[in-house]
Symmetry: C2
Subunit: 279 residues, 2 copies
């Protein structure tokens, strides 16, 4: 164990979506140093096979482990769900030299606490839904829960291209198509299983109605990470604000341009391009 | 020179879009062996930086060169446009051991032949439009031509997710937004600069009207490749049908599922997953 309470928190995502989790983390833990990695040269992960996602995730872990870090957060619904099917990556566990969490357990626990009728919806990428990770975890925590899943592959491109307004016809039409079956199933809680989705939470809320509680998986991961660090006496005692460093695998200039919607509220110390091993 | 007239034609694309070019190639040259590579583990290329696209393209070239090939076709608007800004990749040239063409010169020549009012539109990915490759080539072939470009980043996800019907509201709405400025500019010819776009040519034609000629860049590349091979006496003399082998960098199963719309008319001998060097 080389870390201490002033070591950084490493956060990674396939691209820029994970910045929604960073934003929550800064609110909850303003004094922590955060190192973020967005694999923008290979985004999106959500349409790829589990084997490819595992390979990419391993490279992301190795990159973040090259810094002095105490925790890694997979702020990516796709990676979290694929890793959660592997026994060695359990949310909240201490792995080889750092604490780890993805978004699955944090979001599943929040959904189970929120539901009254035991009918929970999950939206995410193709890979997240295929993995069945939310469904199996929710049903193990809350036996008898009914879990309705729907892959929403168009949400990431819509968000990344700025089709996010409440009255944006393509976004609303596609969202209605995805969400109507979940609404008809009578769910009272919906997990936004991809860290891009909070950007269109207005569109989603309008369709689902006020009776359905939306759970942000990235936001819950931030709260969960804080609890794990507190329990292990690893919260920073720094008095000043922590530093935020952003890495990406494609050009930093392109990252800044694409991340505009996501960077609001984040003031990075620097944004740099990096190379992952055997990328 | 190790190739002869019975060597294969290598074709690559970032994903499945290049199969529209393969389909044209099979119609034009039914007796040729074709080896196709789709880099499905890293699709799409169109949002990436020129440096990253060049790196990925070099890996695709090295993979195809490991076979006995006489020609490589970059059936990807993004790769073609980035390479066409480099002096060593000129469409129709003999490179280091094989003939090469991208889609830029073939499509630009076809557009210049088709236009009557010298107003040509180009639609493609962000990277294609940023490269200015179509604009500079068209204006060097046809001085005084006016070239109107528009990046259409949502077309690839719409096509890959099956939003392709003539009356599909999200597809039609987004297409109207992209194409209205080109229509208002009075173009009479429109280059579909990405090999995904022919799949939604009905939607595009409805918006542009019957006075606008659509040019399929992948289709033109096929015709151009045939002419280059004929000129160099490299057309196959095989009597029987050629074999089609498809490689992808992510799972072959996923490739088959996603390529459904694109494979119509193509009967591959096999579909295999491959690994690119230092991927």
């Amino acid at each position: 164990m080389n870390y201490n309470e002033n070591s950084a928190i490493g956060v990674f995502d396939s691209g820029i979506g994970g910045l929604t989790a960073v934003k929550e983390l800064i609110k909850l833990l303003p004094n922590e140093n955060i190192i973020y990695l967005g694999d923008t040269a290979r985004v999106p992960y959500g349409t790829r096979s589990p084997q490819t996602i595992q390979k990419y995730a391993a490279q992301n872990f190795r990159f973040l482990k090259s810094f002095n870090i105490k925790m890694i957060i997979a702020a990516c619904g796709t990676v979290s769900s694929v890793l959660s099917t592997m026994p060695s990556y359990s949310d909240g566990d201490c792995l080889n030299g750092f604490f780890y969490t993805g978004v699955i357990r944090p979001a599943a626990q929040a959904a189970v606490s929120a539901t009254k009728n035991k009918k929970i919806g999950v939206i995410g990428t193709d890979a997240t839904v295929r993995s069945q990770s939310y469904k199996s975890l929710i049903q193990s925590i809350l036996p008898g829960a009914e879990v309705y899943q729907k892959a929403c592959p168009m949400f990431v491109p819509l968000v990344e291209n700025g089709y996010t307004q409440r009255d944006c016809i393509p976004c609303v039409e596609i969202a209605k198509e995805y969400l109507t079956p979940l609404k008809e199933a009578g769910i009272d809680t919906l997990i936004l299983g991809c860290t891009h989705y909070p950007i269109i939470s207005d569109v989603i809320a309008d369709i689902m109605g006020s009776g359905v509680k939306l759970i942000s998986s990235g936001g819950e991961a931030g709260r969960y990470a804080k609890a794990v660090l507190a329990e292990n006496e690893l919260l920073s005692r720094r008095q000043e604000k922590g530093s935020i460093t952003l890495y990406c695998t494609d050009s930093a200039e392109l990252f800044c341009k694409n991340a505009e919607h996501f960077l609001d509220g984040i003031t990075p110390m620097e944004i740099k391009t990096c190379t992952l091993d055997s990328e």
